[in-house]
């Protein structure tokens, strides 16, 4: 049986028609009742509603189209350059840089002469991404660059969260902007940035043929005489400029730069000739535009004019993109295996395993003592002795009563997240994998924020319970969507990513719609805070750590094999599927209890296993204990600094983990890159 396959041109034409139809519909939507008749009247020369059409409707549709085109093209090329389907403007820190620039400007009243807020976003995004390129360039693999980019993006996101927390009044609109909104103040911003977008896409198209060769592999490209270094640099700079222009126009519209290229990549692989960059880049750009415009149309069609303003367009693009990716990932037969986990740890930094583990244990012990003494109120050991003996004075007693459970919660959650991350990375065989990737952290966050916002007097137990439920549900849904037998494949990574984006979008939606003017609480919770924790909050995570520890004693060798590839473990008689399911089950339980204990702490689950692998290698017998110790230490250090640095104000642990861990992590990635 022979299937007819539409050509790339037909796909492009279909996308273009859809885009035009959606754009026409889009212009008739808005906060006022100006619809088709008024629009036709304006075209016919009546100027009664001209201001609204020219200053509001047309800029908005122009913004939607330009942003979509830029993100689609940029994302496609970033994925080619890094050879990783998870690469996107987000992973190169463009969005993080832009948000941080806007947030800092709001607090310190900075303004760039001649540039408005959009110029600041553009500059911030560009500088952050170029820093990632400069750090990663010429040292090791592009995956390392993406790791550096992800880390920097998290750190910059933390800077933004810090400013939202410390300057609640000044940054009122920032949370919604950070999810991506299309509203425009006239055509000026789009007009300023349009040349950047046109130029960026033109450069990418000029490089298209050489990108085709690069996609075959660096060695092949070098053999044919393509200058890989300069090609990579110019393509990166062009795509980064595109992404920065997009964020300057509309804020960080999430997921378009990731979803549109993946969708086109999957479709194009079935179409003769469409996988060539000269065809695929315009297709991805068009898909991006259709996604952004479609999301905005859908949003404003479902909600009436005023209500639609509460929901950032980025929320809808994330949801639509997530559904697209899940459906496509399921329907694509034999989605290829992901890379093996030799990215880091091919050669280890430490020569023996015991020394780093012992040192890490000592560091954790010292830090625990320090954490007890440090804080808004500084204590001495004698105070702690008095407290333990039950004869401390009121101030010391109350301080330590509140401080001790926070320390326990921080350490346990850090340990759980690190173990969870190590397990997910082993099963998914992807260097960017972490508990977030399975949607577990996102699901848990959604569950908790749901109960916080919908039930005003929710108790700690109810919040922990709904976080657990949400995390477990998201994890199980991902596992079911992927199918037990394909856990080691790209399908797991894509589906988890989609789930993660969808839960993040729903969480934002909950925050901006239910409590748009009192977001502080949910934001702090999402940033991962030990504030107000009691010992009882840490019990579930402690239980799960003990159970998982026992399980891992028994199966750590199977994990060593499972992370290699699909066939080796089976040849050696390991029941790979069972190992993967159990490991992921543990990862889900660990991550969701950790989130229930201290909220959504990013970074630890990604970094601690990588750091451990770089130090002592990929054998889980040594990797897991070291990762656990590092995770506990990092979270504890972050919490202690967050409580101490700017006391009496305090910063959530999750915000500080990224800020504290970044320099070390980047150093580690570059070090491991050099060692190879």
């Amino acid at each position: 049986m022979r299937r007819t396959r539409p050509g790339g041109l037909a796909l492009g034409a279909a996308l273009l028609v859809a885009l035009c139809a959606l754009a026409a519909w889009h212009v008739t939507q808005g906060t006022t009742a100006i619809g088709l008749p008024e629009l036709l009247g304006w075209l016919g020369g009546a100027d009664g509603d001209a201001a609204v059409i020219v200053e509001s409707r047309l800029p908005r549709i122009a913004a939607a189209i330009v942003v979509g085109l830029a993100l689609g093209a940029a994302g496609y090329v970033m994925q080619t350059l890094t050879g990783n389907p998870l690469a996107s403007p987000d992973t190169l820190a463009v969005n993080g840089g832009a948000s941080a620039a806007i947030a800092l400007a709001a607090v310190f009243g900075i303004s760039l002469p001649g540039l408005g807020g959009a110029g600041l976003a553009f500059a911030g995004g560009l500088i952050a991404a170029l820093a990632v390129v400069a750090l990663g360039r010429g040292r090791g693999s592009t995956t390392q660059m993406v790791l550096v980019g992800t880390a920097l993006a998290l750190a910059l996101q933390s800077v933004t969260t810090v400013t939202i927390i410390l300057a609640e009044q000044e940054t009122s609109g920032l949370y919604a902007w950070g999810v991506g909104q299309l509203s425009q103040n006239g055509m000026a911003t789009v007009a300023q940035l349009l040349p950047v977008v046109v130029l960026g896409i033109a450069v990418l198209l000029l490089l298209a043929r050489r990108l085709d060769v690069l996609a075959l592999g660096e060695e092949a490209a070098t053999t044919i005489g393509v200058g890989v270094g300069s090609l990579r640099l110019s393509a990166l700079v062009a795509s980064v400029a595109l992404a920065a222009a997009a964020v300057a126009i509309a804020g960080p519209i999430g997921f378009v730069g990731l979803a549109a290229p993946i969708v086109i990549r999957m479709l194009a692989s079935r179409i003769h000739g469409a996988a060539r960059h000269l065809v695929a880049i315009p297709l991805a750009a068009l898909a991006g535009a259709v996604l952004v415009v479609g999301a905005d149309v859908l949003l404003r069609a479902v909600l009436s004019g005023q209500a639609a303003l509460d929901v950032p367009t980025g929320v809808v693009t994330s949801l639509i993109g997530a559904v697209c990716i899940i459906v496509l990932a399921r329907s694509m037969a034999g989605a290829s295996e992901t890379e093996s986990m030799t990215v880091l740890g091919a050669r280890t930094i430490a020569r023996s395993a015991w020394l780093p583990i012992v040192l890490a244990a000592i560091v954790l012990a010292v830090m625990t003592v320090a954490a007890v003494l440090l804080g808004d109120r500084m204590l001495l050991l004698g105070d702690v002795v008095n407290w333990l003996a039950g004869r401390a004075g009121d101030a010391v007693r109350l301080t330590l009563d509140a401080r001790a459970p926070r320390i326990v919660a921080a350490v346990l959650a850090g340990v759980a997240l690190a173990l969870s991350g190590a397990l997910v990375q082993a099963v998914a065989r992807n260097a960017l994998a972490e508990p977030y990737l399975l949607g577990v952290a996102g699901g848990a966050g959604l569950g908790a924020v749901g109960i916080i916002t919908l039930v005003p007097v929710a108790t700690g137990w109810a919040i922990a319970g709904s976080a657990l439920g949400g995390g477990a549900l998201a994890g199980v849904v991902v596992l079911l969507l992927v199918g037990w037998r394909r856990l080691g494949s790209l399908r797991l990574v894509l589906t988890g990513l989609a789930m993660s984006a969808a839960t993040a979008a729903l969480t934002s939606l909950l925050i901006v719609t239910t409590d748009p003017f009192n977001q502080g609480k949910a934001i702090v919770w999402l940033a991962g805070s030990t504030y107000g924790r009691g010992f009882e909050d840490a019990v579930p995570v402690a239980v799960v750590i003990v159970l998982a520890g026992i399980g891992l004693l028994w199966m750590h060798r199977d994990l060593d094999l499972a992370q290699l590839d699909e066939s080796t473990p089976r040849l050696l008689g390991v029941r790979l599927t069972a190992v993967q399911v159990i490991a992921l089950g543990m990862a889900v339980a660990l991550a969701s209890t950790a989130v229930a204990a201290i909220g959504v702490v990013a970074f630890v689950g990604l970094v601690a296993p990588h750091a451990a692998r770089a130090l002592v290698g990929a054998r889980h017998r040594v990797l897991l204990p070291l990762a656990a110790l590092l995770g506990g230490s990092l979270t504890l250090l972050a919490d202690t600094l967050g409580r101490t640095l700017i006391a009496p104000a305090q910063l959530p642990a999750g915000v500080m983990t990224a800020l504290v861990g970044i320099p070390y992590f980047i150093w580690l990635v570059l070090q491991a890159g050099r060692a190879r």
């Binding site: 927390i165 609640e168 009192n518 006391a647």
Partner: protein, 333 residues
Amino acid sequence: MPQRMSLPRPLLAGAAVLTALALAACGTTEAPAETPAPGAAGEAVTVTDARGVEVEIPAGVEDVVALEWSAVEHLQTVGIAPIGVADVAGYEDWAGFGAPLEGEPTDVGTRIEPSVDAIAGLAPDLIVAVAGRDEGAYADLEAIAPVLVLQGADAADPLETMYADLRLVGEAVGGGDAAEAAITAFQTHVEELTATVDDAGLTGTSLAQMDGYDTGGQISIRPYADGALLPAAFEAIGFENGWAEAGDAQYGLGATDVEGLTALADDTHILYMAVGDDDVFQNQLADNAIWTGLPTVQAGNVHRLPDGIWLFGGVDSLTAYLDSLVAALAPTP
């Protein structure tokens, strides 16, 4: 040789740091507790707060910590200057004109996560919080002192909610009479202003209070719908709220964009407050054809009120708001 030396060095350094820490960290910052202090004289009062919790408050409350700005203002109104306030600097900027801070309170951290350590260090007799914040920390805070939770805002009846919070604070600290007196004085002032507005022929004038934000070049507008405190206050002196859309259930705040402002009636006056140079209406919207084309803008009926009147405050903030409003619309020669 250096390679071989490098391994023990971290160990040595670690041991040195440990020893130093241990030596430095001995001793205490506070004498061990002795016999518990005798209970304060007089009778305790028991009040039911916004959580529905019965809070028992010892008599003779003096040292109070306020975790929200409206709580600060209510306490000052009934004669208590809080010894601890969350985000003192922010209060000066955003509420200091309407209800200037009395005394020199200790900063106890952010309004989102006030510091338990700092509050414990102040050893207050009472902590006043506002519903919707700090729930996670109530247990820790209640170990320090009774926690009184105010309603803060309720769009069902914003003025009554504000009065109820003020009365609750008064009852809790033995200032019930002061609270009633302040409410009566405010209502008397409202009647005077009503007469002024009437004399100026402004009764029934439509006003639209709003905030403007610029984030990354995008302009968002936050209009105060029916149910918000400020419109309730200006309606009490004879004006009408020109913003017809609904707001949220707690604060009565709406959302719109510049296009949405075309819904305002031609004779509506636009009012807004800002802090410092951060004035979206004067700066960012100066060249926006929708804004400059609004009849109310063309007629010059846009008024910026003074910085530092808290939008969700108590009787002093509202008095300052109404006085500035009347001064802006009906300038006395």
